[in-house]
Symmetry: C2
Subunit: 351 residues, 2 copies
């Protein structure tokens, strides 16, 4: 016996290389139905009822037709993202539930390859349920963005006690976790964010040593005041002018961790960084990183270290939860103008 | 008994932060005499008759008044550089001859501190004399520039066989050594240089796999043709536009070694590098390096590896020797317009 239910979703309608995507031009919200039945599945496929979707800036790259690093989105297909769903039917021995690459829709058929990749996270998700952590945490503080902060700090920056770290987009999904684990490691932590509310949160809730609103204060002046002894680690989430200015405040043997250049993702003209010659005179290393490289080696120790910190209340975590798949395109675009506050997840269904 | 001899030299007359130094404005060649006598020396000083001076681009930084990393040149004092001199008189138990920070003059009084720093090189110089290598080699292929190539390759780039290395300013003091040790390590070696004669030398004498004249061929087009499988290591001696273009040809997990940005040293406007976002998507590391950090740990193994290669004829070496201290300013400025061909040394005196 099978039932038909709604499977509304968001279609990727048109690739865009430069500039800002528009809701009606590049996305299309569609209403449709799906038959909840084992019949819809091929061998080794699974059918998943989507609960949470993770919206992250890097999805913007997959909307480009000239992005040749990983397979971009296909025009006419449903948008995709990491997410957490409940397996409804499985033609795959290894699957009952999990974190996989889901569609921006209510139900997704997961291909055998995607199902195989998702296996890696199964045991962590089980532990999370038993621990009482919201499953959505595995899309943020215990997932890709928290893991980015962890790897950036421990694998690349290799901080020494009392060093100064400057974090741009510090109230964002990566920044807020990074700031807190930097404090745990005895660093002096400075952050920039785009609103007074966010700055207050960094100072009062996350106990940053200092923070500033880059929309109100000139970044060069603010760094002079907040980092009088210079910057040892710059965690760059934005690129562009902020990177250019931060370069001039770096100390000898400083490390720059470049994990995203959100300021450049939608721009039609690229900002030219003028201060790279300090790299030589100050022996600075810039590490470009993508988190996908590091799961196998470091994800286990990340979980083991983070979960006790969460339980002990040493880590706070702010999620920006948006309800309903129909709101995913706007929520995604809001990331680029800073209207989100914390890690953005779409809640599609109740558990 | 003492004699008076000529001690002509070049005075640094005026600091210059931006733009191109001019011979009559920033340097002054002066004729003067010095008494060759132990009387001229304070405790622990030595008096050196200068034989070779090493002219290197980084001296340009020391002509700036706003260069706060190491002590800049002092207006009114003699210009300084690494060099090799013969000790004429010594008030210092540990000195008879050596490679020290000399003045652009015929004789230099070496302060106790400089004499102490120079001790590091004494044993290598002795070995060089016994080996029949010209002492000037210790300012180039066996000295700072050769060592820069060696450290850049082994300590930072960590090459794997069959990788592609692209070297800008490949016929220069660092580039020519780097290209040859890269070939010894089984790399595919591509170089750029600013004249057909230099390109011929790279191809025919140094056996580069490919090379191009960047003044004749567009660098982007040339890299497409000479590096069809992309670049794994970019050794950047120039910065600016060449770096910007090279970034777009880098492979995943490529390494950029930034050991100088000669294109930027004299410029009045700084070039803005627009393609840094590839750092993230391709997980690229940029290492800024200064060779002074590495003598203690690596200079010994450098000497041990290089000297046999030189003896076996595996390494060729082109020096650009200019005779006479009065020609030092022009020879220095020629480095910045590419009129030199190989490592520039000033021969001040015969041995």
């Amino acid at each position: 016996m099978s039932t038909e239910v709604s499977n509304n979703g968001v279609i990727f309608t048109k690739a865009i290389n430069l500039g800002i995507p528009e809701i009606d031009k590049h996305f299309k919200y569609i209403k449709r139905k799906i038959k909840i039945s084992p019949d819809v599945l091929e061998k080794d496929e699974i059918l998943v009822r989507n609960v949470y979707l993770s919206l992250d800036p890097h999805l913007r790259n997959l909307m480009r037709s000239d992005y040749n690093l990983v397979e971009p989105f296909i025009e006419g297909n449903v948008m995709k993202a990491s997410g957490i769903g409940i397996v409804v039917y499985s033609n795959n021995d290894q699957w009952k539930e999990g974190d996989v690459f889901l569609g921006w829709e209510e139900y997704s058929k997961i291909s055998p390859d995607e199902a195989k990749n998702g296996l890696f996270f199964k045991k962590y998700l089980k532990e999370a349920k038993n621990d009482g952590n919201s499953l959505s945490y595995f899309l943020g503080i215990l997932g890709m963005t928290g893991f980015t902060a962890y790897v950036g700090l421990y694998v690349f920056a290799k901080p020494k006690k009392d060093e100064t770290i400057f974090i741009s987009a510090a109230a964002g999904a990566v920044g807020q976790v990074l700031g807190q684990i930097s404090k745990i490691n005895g660093l002096r932590v400075i952050g920039s964010a785009g609103s007074d509310t966010k700055v207050d949160y960094l100072l009062k809730e996350l106990k940053f040593d200092d923070a500033f609103n880059y929309k109100k204060i000139n970044t060069d002046q603010a760094l002079k005041e907040t980092c009088p002894n210079g910057i040892d680690i710059y965690f760059d989430n934005v690129g562009g002018e902020t990177l250019d200015i931060a370069l001039t405040h770096l100390n000898v043997k400083a490390r720059v961790i470049s994990c995203g250049m959100i300021s450049q993702y939608n721009s039609t003209t690229k900002y030219g960084v003028k201060n790279l010659s300090v790299l030589v005179s100050k022996r600075i290393t810039i590490y470009g990183m993508l988190i996908f490289d590091h799961y196998e080696e470091h994800y286990d120790s990340f979980q083991k270290e983070m979960i006790p910190w969460l339980k002990e209340g040493k880590l706070k975590y702010k999620e920006h939860v948006v309800n309903g798949i129909e709101n995913a395109p706007q929520a995604f675009l809001n990331i680029f103008n800073g209207k989100n506050f914390g890690k953005v997840v779409i809640k599609i269904n109740d558990l």
